[in-house]
Subunit: 253 residues, 2 copies
Amino acid sequence: MKILITGSSGNIGSKLVKLLADRFEFTGLDRLPPRSGPQIPTVITEAHEVEDLRPALAGKDGVIHLAGNPAVDTPWPNVLRNNIVLTRNLFESCRLEKVPRVVFASSNHAVGLFENDEPYSRIRAGDYAGLDPSTLKRIDHTAPLRPDSDYGVSKAFGEGIGRSYSERFGLQVACLRIGTFSEKDDPTANVRMRATWCSHRDLAQLVSLCLTCPDLRFEIFYGVSGNTWRFWDISHAAAVLGYSPMDNAERYY
Amino acid sequence: MKILITGSSGNIGSKLVKLLADRFEFTGLDRLPPRSGPQIPTVITEAHEVEDLRPALAGKDGVIHLAGNPAVDTPWPNVLRNNIVLTRNLFESCRLEKVPRVVFASSNHAVGLFENDEPYSRIRAGDYAGLDPSTLKRIDHTAPLRPDSDYGVSKAFGEGIGRSYSERFGLQVACLRIGTFSEKDDPTANVRMRATWCSHRDLAQLVSLCLTCPDLRFEIFYGVSGNTWRFWDISHAAAVLGYSPMDNAERYY
């Protein structure tokens, strides 16, 4: 499969290219050249316009859309340009170029305000007293959107336009609400990661399954490892994709 | 209560001013001057910037946010400027000016793709064979977003940022997914309106209740009359607000 990966030079993009290079024929798209690691052909563009994206999408079988500002505290003007407008232009370009499938890097911050509520507020702080992970009610793909930031709002926007394009134009769209992906692949930087960590190879597995699974229309999955204290659901990804995480932050604690 | 009404010179705005002028102290905001009818002080602005909105919001007790392109086929550049950016700037201005409450004119088009599914597809076409309105499963505020257009995506966006501002900054936000509001207040223009009509006085009742009800935090309601064939829920508005519609399109058929 010929896959365009936007944001290919970024933290997540460069790791996915490395882990999945033997399974997909990648082209990158980024405003910066590739980091060290496997060098893939990369279109360098700020991608402000549909016309910046279309040539890179022509003839592709799918796209992994990671480009955009990744920080939860990104100011609104950047969120607007690099997350909202760019993501809309990406979907529109896929429609125009008849690219059948999009894996959209959404974020846990689309539903981040659940972490103000118990028991999630306690789990994220490392206070597990009286809690049993085997009976924990987890946040799943049917939860209402509760974005915790302009960044989170932009990810909710991307899911909304993704669903609209999926149902109106037949685009196949998988939204991954990615948890905490750390450059060093280590869940011990803060105690919240004991719940929210997504290891490199587990995200690579999810992305690969989203690109290859048959009969995808529109789905939302959580990008999280099989952490004992995860508060996001992975049973939907297991049922639809066969996702079976290899990692659990608990082994590091 | 001192209320700013954006889009005050438009179709819905001018009707609400007329029906509610004796209950609220209105200031208008629009890019055009008021139509005929009760003349209210009106700030004339394209409202592209937060600074265009803030002076009009200073000291207000609430805002009815109707401004934006109202057509479902509005092209993306206009949706982006007049619905997405303007709505974000409205919420941000309310935060800065400490305006406690926003009634946001969302739209049924945020969930419009349900009308591709049975039984809604048949009801909207006037085919009621074998259907019983008393047992109809109606689309409620917990339904997933299924925007049918860029316009619908912009309304979903407004709800998302509204929820985020509500939970993060304590803004009280009511989103009204308005059905079909016709200038002539007549549900017979097309058969879909037998389901989707929202009469002038029923919308005025809803808006008034949203402005005055105690303990509002974030809510989504459908702006629809008590039509026998409505496929949107009004029981949530009845329970939270005491909404009791006076009209039913069926009387016109």
